[in-house]
Each structure stands twice: as structure tokens, then as C-alpha cells.
Amino acid sequence: MSAEDANLVRRCLKGDETAIQTLVERFQSDVFGLCVRLLHHRQDAEDVTQEVFLRVFRSLKRWDATRPFKPWLMGITVNRCRTWLTARTKRPELVDFLHETEAGPPADDSLEMAREIQDAMRELRWEYRSVFVMYHERGLPYEDIAEAMEKPVGTVKTWLHRARLEVLDRLRRRGMISEVEHELP
């Protein structure tokens, strides 16, 4: 962890409001983005994100300052999302996932392809989806994902490879692949 982050955490522990807001602003996109991808519900994602930050600040004293902060934070996020999903399955309700998860239009006309990928991600198993989002969307390395998921790096690699194959298989089955697109980089 950088000295700047360590200093920020120290100020947060003292109850500095500015430091707390800075820390939230720095990591809210990671936490909220992962929550939206895992829960497919914006309102739920906001609630879980708030809950995650509450838990983070409650247990900030127990955090090991010699280890990176972000994997620890993402681990809490994954656990809270899993708990939330478990509770949500016990109280089933009608949710318009597509409407709720729409995160704004893509940058170009590849809207359909983006939706296909998001749908493919939604069909993945919980573990596969978590590592896929953390690697491809949040850009975390294997080691950080392994720490967040509390699994060995090899397990994370296996999950990610299987997740990719399932996504690619879905894209192929949905006819999103044309013959001219297999050119190597």
C-alpha cells in the first residue's frame, strides 16, 4: 500500500471527515461497479456499496497495513454481495434486471454486442462472474483477485479460463461471430 493510502487510512481512523470522503470517492467506482455486475440491480448495488463502506470503516483497525487495501476491500464487497444474493433468493420478487442494470450507452454502436457480453456474464456461476468482472472490468491482477476471493491463484486462473470459454461459447451460439473476425493481433 502506498504511503498516501496509509496516511489516508490513519486520518480516517481519527474520524477525519475529509479523509473518509476521499477514501470513499477513490474506491466507490470499484465497489459499486462490482456490486452492479454481481447483483444486476442498481438499487441493491447502492445499498450493498453503502454497507460495504460501513463495514470497511468499522473494521479498519483490523486491516493489516502491510497488505494492499484494494483486494481487502474487494473481498468484503464480494462477501457482502453473496450474502445479499442469498437473502434475495429467500424473498423472490419480480425484478427487471435489464432495466435495472443498464449502465449507460456504450461509446459506439456496439450496443448489441455489449448487451450480449453482459448477459453472458450474468449467466456465469458466481465465482466465475466475480473473477471475470474483477479481471476484465476492474483490471485486478490474479494475485489480488486470489486474495479477495481467498483462493489460490491457480484456482482463480481456472475459474477465469472457464468463464471466458463460457462467454465465448455463448457469443458463438448467439451468432455474434463473423468469419472475418478471427485475425490475430
Binding site: Q28, T49, F57, A107, S110, E181, E183, L184
Partner: protein, 219 residues
């Protein structure tokens, strides 16, 4: 190159690692349609993923979360303070009670006999053996004496009768038995009296023996 090698290269490609064996891969892709489609899909995925806009948090979300965090912090601090105060008050109460007990209670309380949990019936002493005083010896002795005296008197009377008869000169001079002054009751009556006396002696002797056998302690 086979399909498994092709899949390994596919994962490397998705990881962003450089592909070493490009010509062999190209050759395999030209021959294997499934691998070619998979690699095409991977290329499309790599191209599209960066374009998917990550979900953005609502405006002022950080401020809302910060306010909630601060409120939660205040609540927890208040709870912790209250817990500390309650604990301190309880400790002080216990200490005061201990001091009060030390100063006000008597130092050595009289020890009370411990009551058993189960009430036992009162102890009943076994009945004392009533000692019968040994019989007094004068009683049988007097019985014996009177019996002996009576037998002696009867015998003396009978002896008188016999002596009177023996002192007569002739038989003819002997008075008839019935005429004898001392034989008013006749010889038969005298014999009967002797018999009664002996019976009385025997009865009293038996009584005395029974008494001794009953009352005297056996060894």
C-alpha cells in the same frame, strides 16, 4: 498444434500476453473451424470489453456514504461510551456493596448449626431394661419356717397319741380307738392330716423352687 494448444494460446491472448507461435496458430485456425470461431469471439470480446461503460455511482453518492459512515461512527461511539459507563457503574456498585458489607456486618457471625436438608426422625432411645430387684430371701424362709413348725406340731401331736398308747399295760386296757381323747378324728383323719401336711410342704417347696428358678439369674 492441436485444439488444446490452441486453447492455451487463446487464454494467453485474453490475458494480454504475447503469442509466441503465431504461424502455427494461424495454420491451426485455418484448418479448425471451432477454434477459429472461438478466437474470433475472443477478439470481439477484447475489442468490446473496454467499450462497455462501467456502471457509475450516483451523484453525491460519496457524500451520502460519508454521512452514513460518520453517523454510524457516532452511534457506535455513543454505544461504547454507554457500555463503559454501565460497566463502571456496575463495578462501583459491587465495590460499594463490598465495603458496606465489610463495615456494617458483624465480623464473626455466630455459627448456626447446619440444618440437614432431610429431616430425620427424632432418635428414640431403646427401652431400658427394667431391672427387677432380687427377691427378698425372708419370704421363702418364713414359708419354710412356718411349714416346718406346722409339720412339727402335727408330728408332736401324733407322737403324743402313740406314746399314750404305748404306755398302757394291756391291750385290753387300751381304749378303743374312737375313745381316745386325742383321736377324735380317728387315725384315718390323722393320716389324712399328715398327708395334707406333706402335700402342703411339697406344694410350698415346689413353689419355692419355681420362684427361685424364675427369678434367680441363670449363669
Amino acid at each position: 498444434m492441436n485444439c488444446l494448444d490452441c486453447q492455451d494460446l487463446l487464454q494467453k491472448r485474453l490475458d494480454g500476453d504475447p503469442l509466441g507461435n503465431g504461424e502455427a496458430l494461424e495454420q491451426h485456425l485455418n484448418q479448425c473451424a471451432p477454434c477459429r470461431e472461438t478466437h474470433a469471439a475472443a477478439a470481439l470480446l477484447l475489442e468490446t470489453l473496454p467499450r462497455i461503460a462501467p456502471p457509475g455511482a450516483p451523484a453525491d453518492f460519496a457524500r451520502t456514504v460519508t454521512a452514513e459512515v460518520l453517523r454510524d461512527r457516532r452511534v457506535r461511539l455513543a454505544k461504547m461510551r454507554r457500555r463503559v459507563w454501565v460497566t463502571a457503574a456496575l463495578a462501583a456498585s459491587v465495590l460499594m456493596m463490598l465495603f458496606a458489607a465489610y463495615w456494617w456486618l458483624p465480623r464473626t457471625a455466630p455459627e448456626e448449626p447446619q440444618q440437614p436438608f432431610v429431616k430425620l426422625p427424632p432418635k428414640i432411645d431403646p427401652p431400658k431394661k427394667i431391672l427387677v430387684p432380687p427377691p427378698k430371701m425372708p419370704e421363702p424362709r418364713n414359708g419354710f419356717a412356718s411349714l416346718t413348725e406346722r409339720m412339727a406340731d402335727t408330728t408332736r401331736d401324733h407322737a403324743k397319741v402313740v406314746l399314750v398308747a404305748a404306755s398302757l399295760d394291756g391291750v385290753e386296757k387300751l381304749p378303743a380307738v374312737n375313745d381316745l381323747p386325742m383321736l377324735d378324728g380317728g387315725v384315718r383323719e390323722a393320716g389324712q392330716e399328715v398327708s395334707d401336711g406333706v402335700r402342703a410342704v411339697a406344694r410350698n417347696a415346689r413353689k419355692a423352687l419355681d420362684f427361685f428358678a424364675r427369678e434367680m439369674p441363670m449363669p
